[in-house]
Amino acid sequence: MSENIKDEEKNLNETVEVDEVEVDEKSENRDERDIEIEELQKKLKESEDKYVRVFSEFENYKKRLEKEKYQAIEYASEKFAKDLLPVLDNLQMAIQSAETTPDVDKLKEGVELTLKNFLSTLQKNGVESIDTEDGFDPNLHEAVMRVDSADAESGEIVQVLQSGYRLKERVLRATMVSVAN
């Protein structure tokens, strides 16, 4: 009898021990998970922080770029405008001198020189006149009317009605021309 009791006690103890071991394993598991969760939460927070920082940096960068762009546009003509001032001076002087000495030939000469000066200033700033020597080219010329012509072939330029200009690779204004029927 007493042996039986002892056995039972032993059994009970063993069960308890087993239980304890199981509990230990569980708590260990939980610890590991907790650590993992903590780590992930930390990583997520870091990523979120990083995202917020990069995003606000990006927004600021965008704003700054926009501001710089508008400033650049606003003052883009600065150099060009400065280059044009001598032309303005010359024209004012031409009018002044015409008032004192009304010599048309001299005035013409002066205006011609100013024009030359003007054209070279334009050229310096990338503005060039478009020529029509190589025939009608819709990339550069705009046909506004068709006329009968004995000299020009059909579709070719008869007369330049208004000069065209380009700024570097872009057409500022196409040369207005009439073309032969």
């Binding site: 990006f58 819709p138 010329h141 046909a143 506004v144 009317m145 579709g155 872009r170 057409v171």
Partner: protein, 198 residues
């Protein structure tokens, strides 16, 4: 990869890209925000699109195709097709019952003509973005029927574009305004067309 938005207009067309939270209009290689919806076939065998095509229209009225959107996806017997036929300087012909254009004995569908315009817009977008572009959204007038919408999509496909969606022009305006991101409000969208009434 960037998706481009295309306004394929009757008179002018325009391409844009959604960039950094805003829709940005892409300037064409001529430096303009809009490209005339005009395609020309020259005697030299060249195909001109946009401004150059417009500049030579006077010299080449029978082979300069403008306002092709008017006959996009229309049957030849539809009233609108007949109206266009009487008004334009190029030849509108019947191709299996559908409206098409005839240029020097060759017949082109409105889709094929529009594809040339879309192709140029695609190229301009690619040179602006510095990468190849295949995905696009194209807008059509709200009154376009199913056949017209299908034809527009087909034009995109011919131009080598994967047309993700065809959306109504006023809807595109509302989206650009940010209707989907703001709170409840009533917004009125006006569609002021540039189409010539002549």
């Amino acid at each position: 990869m960037a998706v481009i938005g295309i306004d394929l207009g009757t008179t002018n067309s325009c391409v844009s890209v959604y960039e950094a939270g805003d829709a940005k209009i892409i300037p064409n290689k001529e430096g303009r925000n809009t490209t005339p919806s005009i395609v020309a076939f020259t005697d030299k065998g060249e195909i001109l699109v946009g401004d150059p095509a417009k500049r030579q229209a006077v010299t080449n009225p029978h082979k300069t195709i403008y306002s092709v959107k008017r006959i996009m996806g229309l049957m030849m017997n539809e009233e609108k097709a007949k109206e266009a036929h009487d008004k334009v300087t190029y030849e509108i012909v019947d191709k299996n019952g559908m409206s098409a254009v005839k240029v020097a004995d060759k017949i082109y569908t409105p889709q094929e003509i529009s594809a040339k315009i879309l192709g140029k817009l695609k190229e301009d977008a690619e040179s602006y973005l510095g990468s190849s572009v295949t995905d696009a959204v194209i807008t059509v007038p709200a009154y376009f029927n199913d056949a017209q919408r299908k034809a527009t999509k087909e034009a995109g496909t011919i131009a080598g574009l994967n047309v993700l969606r065809i959306i109504n022009e006023p809807t595109a305006s509302a989206l650009a305004y940010g209707l989907d991101k703001k709170g409840d409000e009533k917004v009125l969208v006006y569609d002021l067309g540039g189409k010539l009434s002549a």
